[in-house]
Point group: C2
Chain length 667, copies 2
């Protein structure tokens, strides 16, 4: 009996990656329309196949196309934007501000086309994605001819494509309806991660996934700190938390799983959750090494992904394969861990299982779609080839071959690359457009990086406000004098508080940038008319950008400042140090007593400070804020008068130096 085929591929080393790892050399594969109709030895197929076209593969490896099990392909437009940074600085200092500014349907579409070109060049025939405007990813992939699972992101914050999670879930519903049944694209829903989603989002996303029988793609346990937070807040790690939201009732693809325990692995295995392992990203961001060897022993299906290029910085699955094996070996202390054939399995058949599409692709078997690549291993970095052990072909692909050895790619029976020439994409034009985007992003960041203020605004959303602040400051010899002076008639105390303050001043080579102060403000005592009962001790964290320089001096050394920008500090001192890269810093610790008073009908703040570290003694500051320069001048005289009234004859000359300047003076 003969079988009809459109194309017969011959003279290849055929790695079927079927359940028995059949390997044919010389082998052949027959393709009819979008599917594989025969696989076997060349002599066998030459007898049984009646083909319209026969293609001699020249002794190359013919294998299933590679599956990239977790990525954000549109981020190809952000490759190399920022590297060698901590995760939070990288994410919140660069990625998110740039995404907020630039991510649009146009951006997502172009990024996806660029990635499609890179994926095809690297022998990837199927990818599993998660991003915003995922409709555009699907459109780009379909046009390029790539197979993909496209997951529309949803999270609790406003995102570039939705003002609320309700909006993004509605977007996802429409997106899924639009693409469901496409020959190449499988739409999916992607609640981002436990720390960026609510329980409700996970439950609604699961309902959606089940309603349309589409995958649910989410990040799980990428970093130790997010798992730690979950344990603190919920009393459990991430997998049990997600189980409570019933997400495992849908077809889940769990990216990362770096920090999960044995029990969690068993839960994932029980629910047939697929894991996407991302070696480069986990190493580069120092997230850790996922316990893949153990997952495989437990029976989990684990695929391999690149993550987005912003943390990789490419979509090279050959690199990921090698890394997956290397880090499994070194982390288990066992050089036989994750042997080459297992790794190839993870990027083909097992990878397809992990993303729940092994009925379509992942191996060269009759009835599956024709997703095929040819790999040339007859070159200098692959030779010689030993044939003693049939398994050595897998080792050759994993440990020696490069992504650039892929010469031909077919997806769904259609050639997308022949002899390293892309057939569905115009690379020169794509690169040109990409470079245009890069220029605009560069310009945005250069503008922002020019000033500390812009960087502050970028991450903390500070609003610029013009105001004047006057300050009269004097050194105090006798602390007792202040407490007595404040009781003098004519001073009406509105509020009285005591703080313990830890200030860190960042200063910059370019002094016009001003000084950025990070303050930890521990309120240790509260009293006065407005406060009726004591509150528990609390700490505030604030950033203040001390205007470029003092605007000038008024009256007798009363300082006039303009525009102090303040924002709550939501990150750590370490974060800000790395993000702002100051040229120097100085710490000051003090006890502050603070009164809000009325004096001659005008409100003033009185700060009585005890400088502890460095040990600089006692200071009295009288401050006020106004919106006009003329009013500032009036208040300046009154402030000096108030200082003198409090301290009586004991008053020294008022001074203009800030504490960090006094601290610097000690060096």
């Amino acid at each position: 009996m003969t079988i009809k085929a459109g194309l017969l591929l011959t003279n290849a080393i055929v790695l079927t990656m079927d359940d028995k790892y059949h390997l044919y050399e010389p082998g052949a594969v027959a393709v009819q329309e979008d599917s594989i109709v025969a696989v076997g030895t060349q002599s066998e197929l030459e007898k049984t196949i009646q083909a319209q076209e026969v293609l001699d593969c020249g002794g190359k490896v013919l294998m299933p196309g590679l599956i990239n099990a977790h990525t954000h392909i549109s981020m190809n437009l952000l490759r190399g934007l920022a590297d060698d940074l901590r995760l939070d600085v990288w994410l919140m200092g660069y990625m998110m501000p740039v995404e907020r500014e630039f991510v649009s349907p146009d951006f997502v579409y172009l990024g996806a086309l660029l990635a499609a070109a890179e994926l095809i060049r690297n022998g990837v025939t199927c990818f599993n994605d998660m991003y915003y405007f995922e409709d555009q990813v699907a459109k780009a992939a379909a046009e390029a001819g790539l197979r993909g699972i496209c997951g529309q992101t949803t999270l609790k914050f406003p995102s570039p494509d939705a003002n609320s999670y309700e909006e993004s879930l509605q977007y996802a519903r429409e997106f899924i309806q639009r693409w469901k049944g496409h020959p190449l694209i499988i739409p999916a829903i992607s609640p981002h991660a436990p720390y960026t989603c609510t329980e409700e989002i996970y439950r609604l996303a699961t309902d959606l996934a089940r309603e349309f029988d589409v995958p649910l793609h989410t990040h799980i346990a990428e970093t130790a700190s997010e798992v730690e937070s979950m344990r603190k807040e919920m009393g459990m790690p991430q997998v049990p938390y997600l189980k409570k939201q019933n997400i495992f009732e849908s077809k889940v693809i769990a990216a990362h799983c770096v920090h999960i325990d044995e029990g969690e692995m068993h839960t994932l295995a029980h629910y047939n959750v697929g894991v996407a392992h991302n070696p480069s990203s986990n190493l580069k961001l120092s997230s850790g090494i996922a316990p893949i060897q153990r997952m495989l022993e437990i029976g989990l299906n684990v695929g391999i992904g690149t993550d987005g290029v912003a943390s990789n910085n490419d979509l090279d699955m050959f690199e990921e394969m090698r890394l997956a094996s290397f880090i499994a070996k070194v982390s288990t202390g066992n050089p036989t861990a994750l042997p080459a054939r297992t790794v190839i399995d993870m990027v083909t058949k097992m990878g397809a299982k992990a993303i729940h599409i092994d009925h379509l692709t992942g191996s060269l078997e009759v009835g599956k779609r024709a997703d095929i690549i040819l790999v040339d291993i007859n070159n200098m970095h692959n030779m010689p080839r030993f044939r003693r052990d049939e398994q050595s072909i897998y080792a050759q692909l994993v440990y020696a071959a490069h992504s650039t050895d892929v010469t031909d790619v077919m997806i769904n029976g259609r050639w997308l690359m022949r002899a390293k020439q892309l057939l569905t994409l115009d690379e020169a034009e794509l690169l040109h457009q990409a470079q245009d985007y890069a220029k605009r992003i560069d310009a945005f960041l250069i503008e922002r990086e020019k000033s500390v203020l812009s960087k502050l605004i970028a991450i903390e959303g500070v609003k610029e406000e013009e105001s004047f602040e006057i300050q009269s400051k004097v050194r105090v010899k006798d602390p007792q004098a202040v407490h007595e002076g404040i009781k003098k008639p004519g001073i009406e105390v509105l509020v009285h508080r005591r703080y313990h303050q830890y200030d860190t001043y960042f200063y910059f080579a370019n002094q016009e940038q001003g000084i950025l102060r990070y303050r930890e403000d521990e309120i240790v005592e509260l009293s006065g008319k407005e406060i009726s009962k004591e509150l528990p001790v609390q700490v505030r964290y604030r950033l203040t950008l001390l205007g470029e320089t003092a605007e000038g001096q008024l009256a007798s050394d009363v300082l006039l400042f303009r525009s102090r920008y303040m924002a709550p500090a939501t990150h750590s001192l370490r974060f800000y140090r790395e993000y702002f890269s100051p040229s120097g810093e100085k710490s000051v610790e003090k006890e502050r007593e603070r009164w809000r008073v009325l004096f001659k009908g005008t409100e003033f703040y009185i700060n009585f400070d005890h400088l502890i570290q460095p040990d600089l003694g006692y200071f009295l500051e009288v401050k006020s804020r106004t919106w006009s320069r003329r009013d500032a001048e009036n208040k300046a005289e009154l402030a000096t008068e108030l200082v003198k009234y409090i301290l009586g004859s004991d008053v020294e000359e008022t001074m203009i130096k800030d504490y960090f300047e006094l601290a610097q003076g000690l060096e």
Copy 2:
């Protein structure tokens, strides 16, 4: 003033890697004969340089050629020979037997030429080597036009190129004399490693290195176990041990240094020892992750190497760069560790310092040799390019670029590759010759792997001996009867011993392979005429290949074996299990009492065995060995007679099953 130059390279992103990391874009470099005569901006050099030829680099990166700080390039002929194995199985089961059989001047020369082609393609302009017949490596490198430090190996065992270490040191002396002063080749001496060399070898090698002022290249602390051995034997780790041999008085290049402590790092830094870090090899063989970040903090010069391709499996320095950064980040938990520029430094300027040739190469500076590469980063996997941060070019090279992006290579002012075409080597011819070698090595290993005996001979050097062994065996009900029977007249006891034996039997799918027995033989009691005093308890480890099958039966169930091959077992049970890959195994634990006796003028061994695990009871065996089949037949009858004489009326039928067969029967 104008400067004359043979060649002016323009329109490039010039990374100088000088002490201030000057970067020019568009930049230019002028080359005159073998050296760099100017480096700077294009506009500047176009004014000052009078060049015979001007080459437009088309916007590519122009940087110093990469330095591979530790390799064994001739092992390119062994790429992919054996993978995913433990270090000892890999080394002693495959690498060393094949090297013993094949390494010759011809092998080394061809391997080095193959490697030269791969190195040049990957942008490597200088390598630091260690192998046998190093003269041939030097010859190949010089012909290819590569710069190299060529280290002649010396070790305490006979090697392919020397029967003794004295011979290899003499070879090294002549080799150094021959090549000293060559414009490309720097000869060196390479005592292999502390565990393969003696103190004397290190001292003599150091003397040689100092006499000729050449580098001394050795392996230090690659695995935890070799360091542990050194501590046990010498009471100190490897660096202090080597310091005692004065090796640091020479210019040392220390490969690996995976398992060294802070104190050892300080010692190496004090003596300006260069370290060669080998990420792929250390991961693939599961040796560990070297504490590179700490070494750099302490001020050590660390270069990066590929090691030989047999444990890599390529010579791709771009891969090593990326890995070095990745594993530093994940092992320190700090994603800012080993940032991209530092990594580039390690493969250029710092790498040159590490191998003690920074006066010649490693940066683009006036007066240094013109060792230059061009890297094309205007392609899909490198784009877009952000220019906000000048440093991002380093990140692009480390995290995104591939070795295949190198387009042009110049060494010592001579082009070796232009537009990806090699100019000094015939790749097709080299690949052809490599494949011939691979076939011969395949044939050798296939022949060997065919039989367990050949594999045994390959690693333990067993000599095949033809002999016959007869055995009469019977189950014993009453142990007391044996002890009484042995005292009967006519039996002269020559030796009496008691053992505790732990036997593991490996059996194979192909039963013709026979059974391989691993025996731990603990002697717990010694007595008899030949032994005058008791010895301390001792254990012997032995391998015995129980001839293919029993040759036949003689008399009443006396077994006749032919050719039992025995060898001391120098490796662990785990090693043999992986090396021989048996299809099954069975363990037997027994107490054995053994007598060597004279009975009717013939020597016999009498074994009285108590099978403990599995609990099979008591057995008596009478054995003898002979060299002729006829003699065997005579002895067979006598053996059965002896069994009956000892046990008297209590004797059961003699049996032919071996213990492992009885144990199997229990399942």
